[in-house]
Amino acid sequence: MSAAERLRTWRALAAILAVMLCGTVQAQSVFRADAAHAGVYAGSAPRQFHRVKWTFPTGGRVVSSPVYRDGTIYVGSDDGYVYAIGASDGRQRWKHRTGGPVASTPAIANDTLYVASYDGKLYALDAKTGATRWTFATGGERRFEAKGLHGFLPRNQTIADPFDVYLSSPVVAERRVFFGSGDGNVYALDAASGRAEWQFATGDVVHASPAYANGVVYVGSFDGDFYALDAATGRERWRFHGGQDPAIHNQVGFQSSPAIVDGIIYTGCRDSNLYALDAATGAEQWRYNASGSWINTTPAIVDGKVVFGTSDSRLFVVADAGTGKPLVQQQAKAYIFASPTVAGDVVLVGVLNGTLEARDLATGDVLWTFATDASRRNAGWALTSGGEFNGALLFSSLWREAPIVAAERQFDVGSIFSSPLVVDGVVYFGSNDGNLYAIE
């Protein structure tokens, strides 16, 4: 071994050691597979649907995305519990009660599970037993809200957004836990003790999930801005201004979480754009415009491609990561909020009509679909016979609670907000019908 080779070997070992000491979460044990949120999983997802391996029922909607560690699947539920479930048998290993819906995806580092709850607390739990290690209380949770939101009536009424379904999912790096809150802050806590190290105030709710790379935390806010914060101090490195919508507050805010690959940040925005930003400066590299349709999915980045979905226009898009030029555009049957997952040459996409689609990465063609139980039941004809949302029957009025109720009825068809997880060829995802599904 030459001196140069020895130096490279030592550098590689040092890098591995540094990662272990920092406690950066491992692939599969955090939202979007890793701290950079690339959304790419090891192995391959099935190109054919074979069977439902198991179904785990919870007492509420499963918006949270499942994560995996040492033979166990971890997921939150809107019933207020965090669950640990055997990956092989689908049996509950433990559950831990929080004070509100757990619409956040857990992150696991050094045998500690971190997750946010609508009770306004971040929980640190023993991943093996579910026992509490510490909790941290934020300033309290709330949904994004605005007067006359989305054109709902009366215009002077402050309305909570029924489509703001997620909570921020924590990411762990540099011995710190980073997450956003409905109180508008981004927090950095000591991962071991839960002590607050810094907090950064944005102008509105932060329900996107921070990504981490090279000492910087990146996250967008419902205030319409995207932030790069120093991971050690919380100091703002730069901010990027997304669109604003003072009329009905529909085309504003980052619900999508960022993905970072090769120094470029990719993030969707409710202003209908998917942005590619320089991670060092925040300079815009390109944007893909979805013509009035939200981009709430966190993009998956693989082999120079950006994979994402849109809401109202229902597009599944694979774009060139260097230019933003669409390589594939196909229409799904309903809105896509769930972040696509890439495993091998298969992309898994949850759709709000309660179906999971498996698509070929190269062509975008549908390989197979799986409809949840609630989607098949189609209560109240929320869906057309073709699987699209039945808008004519659902949205009969914009007054008072009517559009809120209509949105909830849409979600009752087992809408999939949860981003799929792939482990050993098995696909795990949550549904609004209350189930966590394992299919292969």
């Binding site: 054109g151 215009r155 009329a247 009905i248 057309t384 016979s385 004519a392 007054w399």
Partner: protein, 238 residues
Amino acid sequence: MFRNVLLGLALVPALGVAATPAGRWQGVVDIPGRPLALIVDVAQDGDGRWIGSVIVPALGVKGAPLANVSDDAGGVAFDLGRLLASPAYGPATFAARLQPDGAMAGEMRQAGNVAPFTLTRTGPAQVEPPVRSTPVAADVAHAWHGDFELTGYPRHVTLTFENHAGGGATATLLVVGKATTAVPIDLVVQEGANVRIESQAMGIAFEGRLDEAHAELQGTIEVGPIERPLVLRRESAS
């Protein structure tokens, strides 16, 4: 025996009434998981044509017109026109038969879904007449121009009214923004100095008040859920 004869005589007029779909009908469509209650009024107009209207409390609908009402040898069919219609699946349709017990039973189809329904006659029909366009005053029957801003972009509007002998006025609405859109107008109503136009198909409406000089229509335009102030100036005065 005598009792049975009386009972039989009593049933004769009831069976006779059941042979026509005319009347007010009330019941439920058995949509799985969310039954839909409705009231349907069906009658014949002065020309003998079948007309009707529907009330659907759960959808906030009162008196929406029925379309394509037909009565054929005990079979009754109608649709709900624009109500619950979709471009891909067409209108919501009802097809039923009058039952020996006096009920109207059949199937509702909407957006490709099918569910059974049963309606019971509760009284005479109370068909709600459709809202019709009115003529507009001579000083309104012109072309009007104005501008408004929507989602950060300016739009130029040209609204033109036209009266027709013996009927209501019609209007054309042209909106020029990033694209040029000819908006189909369903309804034109003038009441005193107030003028209102509606496009149900596109969810656009304008309501304005004629100023004292009869040179401006000062009001608001509604585009879906968004309301914007809009002042239209008469072409000859602009």
